[in-house]
């Protein structure tokens, strides 16, 4: 298997912009209808991570781009929630830092995004009594994705079993999990969201899971558990 890594240094693009599926600041403002003032206020309030502002040379000197899916999802979340929560509360909800709350397997049954058949297999592959927030986000992301892709609960549980020791060590949800198959086997690459991975033709990409998007969704929906 060959895997090529494109590295984006913080705020400084060193690779082709289209590799990361970027959106320019101007297009972002036009599509979402937000103003420069709102964008920079949200950046100051840490609602939009600084590393999402990627600067590239342009004929006008410099232009700023963002990871398209992440920024569009984030702006949508902020616009939906800004009347319900203060900016300070929103920053807490949308922070890439993982929540310190730990929950039990019993609590996991209340999270409807997780396939219940998978939950029965979880204690066999993950022996801890408590699940960290990052574990929950990861299980939700894999459960949703693999169900959509037609994997069995057993295959999904095996995939979680291989990957969860690596994911559990992450302190931030700014990571992307790339699920792929080689023959009959399913595996995963866990990488910072700023990395773009290219695989050779023998690899079939099943899905790319942005944990920050899932984390936003889970924190908002189950705020009594994680905020």
């Amino acid at each position: 298997m060959l895997c090529y890594i494109n590295i984006t240094e913080q705020n400084n693009v060193t690779l082709r912009g289209d590799d990361l599926n970027l959106i320019s600041k101007k297009d972002l403002l036009a599509i979402t209808g937000i103003s420069y003032g709102q964008l920079y206020r949200w950046k100051r309030e840490r609602l939009i991570p600084e590393e999402w502002f990627i600067k590239q040379s342009a004929y006008t000197g410099q232009e700023t781009f963002f990871p398209r899916e992440q920024i569009l999802s984030r702006v949508k979340s902020i616009l939906e929630l800004k009347d319900k929560y203060s900016l300070e509360e929103l920053a807490k909800i949308l922070s890439p830092e993982t929540s310190l709350t730990k929950i039990t397997i019993k609590d996991l049954y209340e999270i409807e995004e997780i396939n219940k058949g998978l939950l029965e297999l979880l204690p066999k592959i993950y022996k801890n009594d408590y699940y960290d927030f990052i574990d929950v986000v990861f299980i939700v992301a894999v459960s949703e994705s693999t169900t959509k892709a037609g994997l069995t609960n057993q295959q999904c549980a095996e995939l979680i079993g291989y990957s969860i020791p690596v994911v559990s060590k992450q302190k931030s949800t700014n990571i992307t999990c790339t699920v792929f198959s080689v023959g009959e086997e399913y595996h995963m690459v866990i990488s910072p969201s700023s990395l773009s991975l290219d695989f050779d033709g023998g690899i079939q990409i099943i899905d790319r899971l942005s944990l920050s998007e899932v984390a936003d969704k889970i924190k908002i929906k189950y705020d009594n558990k994680f905020i």
Binding site: K26, L29, Y36, G37, Y40, R41, R44, T60, G61
Partner: protein, 204 residues
């Protein structure tokens, strides 16, 4: 939290204060968190500043980020290297020099700003008026900025490489290389503007 006053020559190691007053020559070797910082003398700080209200009538030199609700500059504030200034509101009747970015909802400057980048909602910089005492003292200074991006921008006698905004007023003696506007645009006849892009309505 306590009030602390630096009168004469002194040095502090940073810390948390309700009000930090610098009336002499003071320096600080690490971060300061305070409700108010008043500088009437000379203050050098190498740590990060987190403050509700920063008021400088003297000369202040910072080498790390400043995060404030309100900043009022009637003297000279320098922020070196790539350190940032973040605030809800900045009022400047003196001089601000920033190596990094300045980001604020509202900036109203009747003085001089030299910065790499300025971002915000409403930005008004008028460096043409020389009536103020402190501005007269620094009148050889020039407002020179690489990039300004804001919803509403109003400039007079300012040199900027790139200006991006919705409603933009380019006043007398401005020199702009690139301008992108997606609302209303006014350009004074004494201003020089190079390349203009965007979907805008020209105001007379």
């Amino acid at each position: 939290m306590q009030d602390f006053s630096l009168e004469g020559i002194g040095k502090i190691n940073g810390g948390e204060f309700r009000t930090l007053n610098v009336e002499g020559v003071g320096s600080c070797s690490s971060g300061v968190k305070a409700e108010n910082i008043y500088i009437e003398g000379v203050f050098n700080c190498s740590g990060e500043i987190e403050v509700e209200h920063l008021h400088c009538e003297g000369v202040a030199d910072f080498t790390a980020n400043i995060r404030a609700k309100r900043i009022n500059v009637q003297g000279v504030v320098s922020v070196r290297r790539d350190a940032k200034i973040e605030a809800e509101e900045i009022i400047c009747e003196g001089v601000i020099k920033a190596g990094g970015e300045i980001s604020a909802d509202f900036i109203n400057a009747e003085g001089f700003i030299q910065a790499k980048e300025i971002f915000g909602d409403r930005i008004r910089i008028n460096s043409h008026y020389h009536g103020k005492r402190i501005v007269n003292f620094f009148k050889r200074e020039k407002s020179d900025i690489k990039l300004i991006e804001a919803t509403t921008i109003e400039l007079s006698d300012v040199t900027v490489s790139t200006v991006n905004g919705r409603d933009i007023t380019i006043g007398p003696y401005c020199k702009i290389d690139h301008l992108d506007c997606n609302g209303t645009l006014f350009i004074d006849r004494t201003a020089t503007v190079g390349n203009i892009t965007g979907n805008y309505t020209m105001k007379n």
